[in-house]
């Protein structure tokens, strides 16, 4: 049975540990990449927050506009991930995602998105409140 990546915004405090763990687990030559999840602190100080992360849509706009079929669903995790061998960095996916969940990685100036870390999402692992979980 496929695991489910569950986001419970009620539990989020906006601490942004998810962002940190995401950035560091996607390092390129020891530089942290852009995080593919953003946590917004809605009631400071760290009382309430909202995490915004890729919804792995059933009908992904990013996949539909990609000219190289670089965005494909991983059948085990259910996540849409970018095949960088195919990606031509045209930014169509960035323009297409209505939720802003395609990011531009400034280090490599290439696009990036949440791919559930291939099956063990670090954000869920490190989230202190259980707002993010993968079971």
């Amino acid at each position: 049975m496929r695991k489910i990546y569950l986001v419970l915004p009620e539990k989020c405090t906006g601490c942004r540990t998810c962002e940190l763990s995401c950035a560091y687990s996607h390092q390129i030559e020891q530089q942290p990449g852009a995080p593919r999840i953003r946590a917004y602190n809605t009631k400071p100080p760290l009382e309430k927050g909202i995490p915004v992360v890729c919804f792995q849509c059933d009908r992904p706009a990013c996949q539909e506009v990609c000219p190289t079929k670089a965005l494909q669903r991983n059948l085990e995790t259910g996540a849409i991930s970018i095949d960088y061998d195919r990606c031509i960095n045209c930014h169509a996916c960035y323009a297409a995602c209505p939720f802003g969940n395609i990011h531009i990685d400034p280090i490599n100036t290439r696009v990036a998105k949440c791919d559930l870390c291939g099956g063990s999402p670090k954000c869920a692992l490190f989230c202190p409140t259980g707002a993010l979980s993968y079971k």
């Binding site: 706009a61 031509i88 169509a92």
Partner: protein, 259 residues
Amino acid sequence: MDILINGKKVKTRKGEHVLEVARREGFDIPSLCHHAALTPDGACRLCLVEVEGPEGKNKVTTACTLEVSQGLSVRLDTPEVAANRKVVLEMLLSRVSDSPTLLKLADKYGLLEMRLVPQGEKCVLCGLCARVCTELVGAKALTMEGRGTETYFQPPFGEPAKDCVGCGSCAFVCPVSCIEYKKTDKTIEIWGRNFERLACTECGEPLDLTPEHRDLIRRRTDLLTPAEMQLCGGCERRTTMKTMQRVVEGQQTLETARR
């Protein structure tokens, strides 16, 4: 089916080519004109490998175009492969003498002597820019003009690219970074064209998007409106966040939030 690469048995699927298979297995084969999303072109001739044939009659060929077949056995670094690859590299370097990409390859494959007259060109004629533009992006703004050593990958007649949308994919895939893609706050310049650089309608941050590219992307799906596309990631996320907040606070149901 299984094939042999340097004597090692590797798994392959029908229709694959030796280049992708070898790289997947960790073998190193250089190439310039190969791209995973394009059909193999066999233009640069760097990815040479030796196919073992009957009675010791081996054949040197390009790995990118070599389809896997039952009983196929290839060797990657035979003397024949190494010698020919060095000459191909030498030829490429004579064309573009100062390319870091080529110089690195020369180092790696033991090319020590440059015997040919340097040509002072910038482009290695791999063709990736035109193929990507034609086969993937669909703008078809670039073509292979001229013939022989006077070949140029450029817009037709070398004039400002009529059909270009300013997406910059060509510059990205170029293995020697010889395509100029210049971004200013208000413009994107490439191939003699000066495109309007769209800005986020919310916060005004310049986007990597031109009106032409936006229209081209829209034609690939019915999911998008022009207005939606002209927002930066940050503003879109904030909107998403606000919607989620309203749902959490009971001000909106999940159904209405889901458009």
